[in-house]
C-alpha cells in the first residue's frame, strides 16, 4: 500500500432518488493538502460526511489512515478531526469551556485539557475572549475556535468543510496561515471550498467536482492553465449592446464569452483591457464597467464543463441562433 492517508475509490451516495455523489475517486498522500473544489450542491459535504463516518457510502471504498470507514469506523474517528460548515461549538459556553469539554471528551485529564485550551486560545488569538460566551464572538472568532476545537487532540488527518465561507479577508488569511502551519507539521488536510483562490493558495492538489462527479484533477497551476490567470470583464447592462460587444470582441478574441450581464475575455493583461475599451469605443459601445480580475470558480467551470466559448449551449450563441 502507498502512503495515502485518504483514499476514496468509486464513492457513491444517494438520498432517496437524488444522487448526491455519483462517482468520486481521489487520493491524498500523507502530509499534503487536497482542495475539493465545487459549487453549492456539487456533493462536497456528502463526500466529507462519508469520509468522517457520518454517512454510510452506498458503494465504493473509503479509507482514512488505513482504516476502512465501513469495517473500522472507530479507527477512522480516532484518526480524523472534522470541522463542519457550521462552527460547531456551544454558544452559551465560553471559548475555554468549549475547548476543555472537547479535550475531556477525548480523554484528557482536567488539568491537561485546561493547559491545552490555554495553548490553543493563545495560538488562535482568542486568549482575551477565552472567558466570554461564544455567542458574543464574531464569525471569524467562532471559526477560529471551531478549528481550535478540532485540534485539541492532534490527529493525523484534518478535514475542513468550507472553512472560510462567510469570513472577512483578515480572518480568512489567519485561517489559511493555520492550515499552512499544520501542513508543515505533517498533518494531512482535506478542505472543501467554493473559492478557487483558496484552493490555489493552500492545496498541493485540487479535485474539482460537479453534480457528484470529478470533472478535473491536478495541481493548482495545471488547473489555472486551463482557464488563464486573469480575465477581462466588460459589464454591459443593455442586452443589445452586450450582443454587439460580444460580436465585436470575438473578431479578435475568439474565446470571448457572455456571462451574467458581462462579456468576458479569458486571459490578457492591462494592455488587453485597454485594447478592449478602445475597440468598443470605436464602435460606439459604452461599457458600464470594465475590470481585470482573477478567474472565479465560475470561469473554471466554464472552462472545464465545456460550456465555454463558442460551444453549443452558450447562451449568447443560442440567442443568436433563435434570432
Amino acid at each position: 500500500m502507498n502512503d495515502a492517508m485518504i483514499d476514496v475509490e468509486g464513492l457513491r451516495k444517494s438520498f432517496g432518488k437524488k444522487a448526491a455523489v455519483q462517482d468520486v475517486s481521489f487520493t491524498v498522500p500523507g502530509g499534503t493538502v487536497l482542495g475539493l473544489l465545487g459549487p453549492n450542491g456539487a456533493g462536497k459535504t456528502t463526500v466529507i460526511n462519508c469520509l468522517s463516518t457520518l454517512l454510510r457510502p452506498d458503494a465504493g471504498r473509503v479509507t482514512v489512515a488505513g482504516h476502512d470507514v465501513l469495517r473500522d469506523p472507530a479507527g477512522v474517528r480516532a484518526s480524523i478531526a472534522l470541522t463542519g460548515q457550521f462552527a460547531a461549538v456551544d454558544q452559551v459556553l465560553t471559548g475555554r469551556q468549549n475547548l476543555v469539554l472537547f479535550g475531556r471528551l477525548l480523554r484528557l485529564s482536567r488539568r491537561e485539557a485546561g493547559e491545552r485550551a490555554t495553548e490553543l486560545l493563545s495560538r488562535f488569538d482568542l486568549l482575551e475572549a477565552g472567558d466570554k460566551a461564544v455567542k458574543e464572538y464574531s464569525g471569524g472568532m467562532r471559526r477560529r475556535l471551531d478549528l481550535a476545537a478540532a485540534l485539541v487532540v492532534p490527529r493525523p488527518v484534518l478535514v475542513l468543510d468550507e472553512p472560510t465561507t462567510g469570513l472577512d479577508p483578515r480572518s480568512r488569511h489567519a485561517l489559511w496561515r493555520v492550515v499552512r502551519d499544520l501542513r508543515v507539521s505533517g498533518t494531512t488536510v482535506l478542505l472543501t471550498t467554493q473559492y478557487l483562490e483558496e484552493a490555489d493558495r493552500l492545496a498541493d492538489a485540487i479535485v474539482v467536482i460537479d453534480k457528484g462527479r470529478v470533472i478535473a484533477t491536478g495541481t493548482p497551476d495545471e488547473l489555472k492553465d486551463k482557464v488563464g490567470t486573469t480575465m477581462c470583464e466588460v459589464r454591459l447592462d443593455d442586452d443589445a449592446a452586450r450582443e454587439r460587444a460580444l460580436a465585436v470582441l470575438r473578431g479578435q478574441w475568439t474565446d470571448a464569452t457572455e456571462s451574467d450581464g458581462a462579456v468576458v475575455v479569458p486571459g490578457g493583461d492591462a494592455r488587453t483591457l485597454t485594447e478592449i475599451v478602445r475597440r468598443l469605443a470605436d464602435t460606439g459601445i459604452e461599457a458600464d464597467n470594465v475590470a481585470l480580475r482573477r478567474p472565479t470558480l465560475d470561469d473554471v467551470f466554464f472552462a472545464l464543463t465545456g460550456r465555454g466559448a463558442g460551444a453549443p449551449g452558450n447562451p449568447g450563441e443560442v440567442a443568436r441562433a433563435v434570432r
Binding site: 500500500m1 502512503d3 492517508m5 500523507g30 502530509g31 460526511n49 468522517s52 463516518t53 457520518l54 454517512l55 489512515a65 488505513g66 472507530a74 479507527g75 474517528r77 480516532a78 484518526s79 480524523i80 472534522l82 470541522t83 463542519g84 460548515q85 457550521f86 462552527a87 460547531a88 461549538v89 456551544d90 454558544q91 452559551v92 459556553l93 469551556q97 469539554l101 472537547f102 475531556r104 471528551l105 477525548l106 480523554r107 476545537a149 487532540v153 492532534p154 490527529r155 493525523p156 488527518v157 499544520l182 507539521s185 505533517g186 498533518t187 494531512t188
Partner: protein, 268 residues
C-alpha cells in the same frame, strides 16, 4: 505507513465501553445543564408548572368537589405528567438545535461513545424534570396533596414521573435528532402531545368521557402513568397500577430506544 504529526495511540481514543459512556455522558450532561441552569430557565422550570397547577386548581376545584373529587389530591399527578411531556418536547428541540448547529455531527465524527449524546440529554432533562416535579409536589402539599403511602410513596412517585419523562424524551429525542429544524420539531411534537394528554385520565376520570372514546382513554399510556401516580399517592391498588405503567414504559422504552439509536446514527 506515515501517520503525520502527533500520532495518537489508538488506546487513548478508543470509543467503546461502559466507562467511556458514563464519563462522556457526564461531561456532555454537564454542558447541557450549564446551558439549562441559567436563572431565567430555572424560573421557567419552577414557575411555569406552578402557574398551571394553581391556575387549574383555582378554576376547577369547586366543580370537581361537586362531583365528589378532591381536586387538590387529583390534580398534581396530571400537572406532573403534563410537565414531563413538555420537558420531553423541549428535549427534542434542544437535540435538533444541536444537530443544526453541527454539534451532533462533530460528536459523531469524534471517538465518542455512540450513546453519550442521547444519554447526556436524558440525564440533564431528568435533572430539569426533577426540579419541576419537586416544585409541584411541594406546592401541592400546601394545598392538601398527601402521600397516604408515606415518604417511600413520595420517592416512588418522583421515580415514576422521571421514568415517564425519560422514556418519552427518548422518543421525542429520536424525532429531534431526525430533523435539523428545531422550530418544526417543537410545533410538530406539541400537536400530538395535547390530545394525548386530553384523551387520558390526567384531567378527568375515564367515566366522564363519551362511550366511543373511552377505550382510547383507558388504553392510553398516559392514563396508565397518571393512574399509577395517583395510586402511589392515594395508597389504593398500588401494585396493579404501577405494574401496568411499568409494562407500558418497558414497551415504549424498547421502541423508542431503537428509534433514537437509528436517528442518532443518521444525524449529520
Amino acid at each position: 505507513m506515515s501517520v503525520g504529526a502527533g500520532p495518537v495511540p489508538a488506546a487513548v481514543l478508543a470509543e467503546g465501553g461502559a466507562a467511556s459512556l458514563l464519563r462522556q455522558s457526564a461531561l456532555l450532561a454537564g454542558r447541557n445543564l450549564r446551558v439549562a441552569l441559567s436563572v431565567p430557565t430555572v424560573v421557567g422550570m419552577v414557575v411555569s408548572p406552578l402557574l398551571f397547577y394553581f391556575g387549574f386548581l383555582a378554576v376547577f376545584r369547586k366543580m370537581f368537589q361537586a362531583h365528589g373529587i378532591d381536586f387538590g389530591q387529583y390534580l398534581p399527578p396530571a400537572i406532573v405528567v403534563m410537565w414531563a411531556t413538555f420537558t420531553a418536547v423541549s428535549a427534542a428541540v434542544l437535540l435538533s438545535r444541536d444537530r443544526r448547529g453541527g454539534m451532533v455531527a462533530r460528536l459523531r465524527s469524534m471517538p465518542v461513545h455512540g450513546g453519550a449524546v442521547v444519554t447526556a440529554r436524558l440525564a440533564s432533562d431528568g435533572v430539569r424534570a426533577l426540579i419541576s416535579v419537586c416544585a409541584v409536589v411541594a406546592a401541592a402539599h400546601l394545598t392538601g396533596f398527601r402521600f397516604a403511602t408515606g415518604p417511600l410513596g413520595a420517592v416512588a412517585f418522583v421515580l415514576l414521573a422521571l421514568a415517564f419523562l425519560l422514556v418519552l424524551a427518548l422518543g421525542t429525542g429520536a424525532a429531534g435528532l431526525a430533523s435539523s429544524q428545531p422550530e418544526t420539531v417543537g410545533s410538530t411534537l406539541h400537536m400530538p402531545a395535547m390530545p394525548l394528554l386530553m384523551l387520558s385520565t390526567a384531567f378527568a376520570p375515564a367515566s366522564s368521557f363519551p362511550a366511543w372514546v373511552r377505550p382510547v382513554v383507558e388504553l392510553s399510556p398516559v392514563s396508565a402513568v397518571v393512574d399509577a401516580l395517583r395510586a402511589v399517592a392515594d395508597g389504593t391498588g398500588v401494585a396493579g397500577a404501577v405494574l401496568r405503567a411499568c409494562v407500558w414504559l418497558a414497551v415504549l422504552l424498547v421502541v423508542f430506544s431503537r428509534a433514537a439509536t437509528r436517528a442518532y446514527r443518521r444525524a449529520t
